[in-house]
Symmetry: C2
Subunit: 360 residues, 2 copies
DNA sequence: CTGTTAGCGCTTTCAT
DNA sequence: ATGAAAGCGCTAACAG
């Protein structure tokens, strides 16, 4: 592997000049540039990121903190991040927290040690996380670019990208009410106050708007997984007056809930209407296809990546937020109350239409 | 951030001693160790991976090359890798190739530049890839630990982990034949010769074993995705004598195929039986639940990680391979030929039982 | 068992 | 516009 010295020698210049050529960190005469580039090419020179990182403390790495790459939503978001960052020669270091606050702090520390140039922190899936938030805020104070997905880091003026989940949830409830439902439950994650707070609020807001009183028994919290959805639905079904419709915190949970209904011989949507959240690829393929609130996962990731990139360039720029739209995708797990037929609707295919963003 | 010098000074030893304590790279007296550790703790010293990487050319990073993290199989495999590597303080750099040979070479180069200590290369999804294979073989010659998932790098004696996909595919065909099917199609990826060659061979082998002649028209290749599955099924359905059962190269494709059937008003499994491959989490949740050949994705990743770890420790050890079992999981997308009822089976739940491995 | 001495390959003032 | 020199923080012979 050729070093910067080899190139310098061959081009008849000093190492610093070569460095400048590669980093465009100072004006260099055109002819010198060409000589250097030529020499570099002949030697198949490739800058050593470690050395350059050590000297400049820029590593071209950014850390992406998610709860679990196995969640299709996270995976899609991750691709949005990776694809965007890759174009600027950054690599993405993906770490999973499994929603565990302890693990989250650990991985945060780990990637910090590694000298990443920035962080993208997606849904932390936790309730009281002041300690973590403080850690993150400290990173920011040290000048580390941080962007969050979702605006859960309210204490600080942080760059964030989020979706109008509250509106999405409200739209889902509107839809259910239109179909005649009043007994509408909500299955949230244990830390609904965290990431999913918007969905939670949208649910409540819409219900109140329609003059439906909130019922404690209709708001259950569970694991954000198919198993969790199943378990939560069991509880709902055991209720004396079980709901006729339920909005879930994400599609995985919705799928689990549907499964639970089937086990009890309750057909969806005839016996009960269910709405998911996210619109993961399988939502459209499940049978019946899942009515869900589409979140622009890929876009969310891509925007977040753009935001870190931007902040790394302009560390002192005012903080900015991007807010993307969610969209209710009506498929076939919702039907009018007390009616046999599924709510028919042409939109059986794709989803996740345009997303307008604010500033950025 | 404290440096190794700070710690050395405070502990009254030389930097090299501190280094030795942290890396256990030479015997150090117990009392010295304690002094160093204490000093380090007081200063909150954390070794700088960049500096250490530069000096030692060990970075504690390994590259994981997959086609797409959005594929649930890959995501699960990735978790297996990450979880295992993490325990030894390695981080995993995940890169996607999207099945594109050009991109694959690029990302391979990129992570090589970054100085990863080893590679795990999963299904390259490509046919003629001699150039890439040569690149990889060169890496190995330079002494870089490489382990592949699947044994497609036959030219070299490389460490690999794979599953008995051929047996799995054969078992699927056996199952279909038992149900009375003879007209069994296979939907493969474009590069079925690549990763999926085992499934392909298992299909053919089993068919021949049962005295069923292979038909060109029944072996179609497509994109490895739900869209691809849909498209391929369209072609199959357009055939004058369409198959009564089809084995697909993976669950995504199977789901797409089922979808296509539904669009044509053909019920699965009544009108046609379909078997997937992988047993992704959604396979059990789809309706009807998908009969599929379970691959131990997580285990595959975990084993691969163990193999790189091992090779990094013992660069000259003889190459080893781990072969895990696949398991046919009979759910409800397969039914006897010309019969109305779905093939009932208790096994409606989990899957992917024990997996015995060979050497390792 | 421990210290000394050189770097690893690059960036970055400070000059010119 | 370019060069010289001094590290970035750590490891690795080489001594002893």
């Amino acid at each position: 592997m050729a070093t910067i010295y080899d190139v310098a020698k061959r081009a008849g210049v000093s190492p610093s000049t070569v460095s400048r050529v590669f980093n465009k960190t100072a004006p260099i005469s055109q002819k010198t540039i060409e000589r250097v580039l030529k020499a570099a090419q002949e030697l198949e020179y490739d800058p050593n990121p470690l050395a350059s990182g050590l000297a400049s403390s820029r590593t071209l790495m950014v850390g992406l903190v998610i709860s679990d790459i196995q969640n299709p939503f996270s995976a899609t978001l991750a691709r949005g991040v990776q694809d965007t960052l890759e174009r600027e020669r950054y690599i993405t270091i993906i770490v999973n927290t499994d929603g565990d606050p302890v693990k989250e702090l650990e991985v945060l520390r780990e990637i910090y040690r590694r000298g990443v140039d920035g962080f993208i922190i997606a849904p932390p899936q936790r309730g009281d996380a002041t300690a973590h938030n403080n850690y993150i805020i400290n990173l920011m104070k040290e000048g580390l670019p941080v962007v969050t997905i979702g605006n859960w880091l309210k204490e600080a003026k942080v760059d964030y990208v989020t979706s109008r989940a509250q509106d999405g949830a409200a739209a889902a409830v509107d839809h259910l009410v239109e179909l005649g439902h009043r007994d509408i439950a909500f299955i949230g994650g244990y830390y609904t106050r965290g990431v999913a707070v918007g969905r939670w609020l949208g649910y409540q807001e819409a219900l109140l708007k329609h003059g439906v009183a909130l019922q404690q028994a209709y708001m259950v919290e569970t694991d954000v997984s198919t198993q969790g959805g199943q378990a939560a639905m069991e509880r709902l079904l055991a209720l004396p007056n079980r709901p006729s419709a339920v909005l879930t915190v994400n599609d995985l949970v919705a799928l689990g809930a549907i499964n639970s209904c089937r086990r009890h011989g309750i057909e969806v949507p005839r016996g009960i209407s269910i709405v998911g959240f996210d619109d993961i690829p399988f939502a459209a393929l499940s049978i019946p296809p899942l009515t869900t609130v589409a979140q622009p996962a890929y876009e969310l990731g891509a925007r977040a990546a753009e935001l870190v990139l931007r902040r790394m360039r302009e560390p002192t720029a005012p903080s900015v937020q991007a807010v993307l739209n969610c969209q209710l995708v009506i498929r076939q797990t919702t039907a009018p109350l007390h009616t046999g037929a599924a709510h028919q609707h042409p939109n059986d295919n794709d989803s996740c239409g345009d997303n307008d963003a604010d500033p950025l």
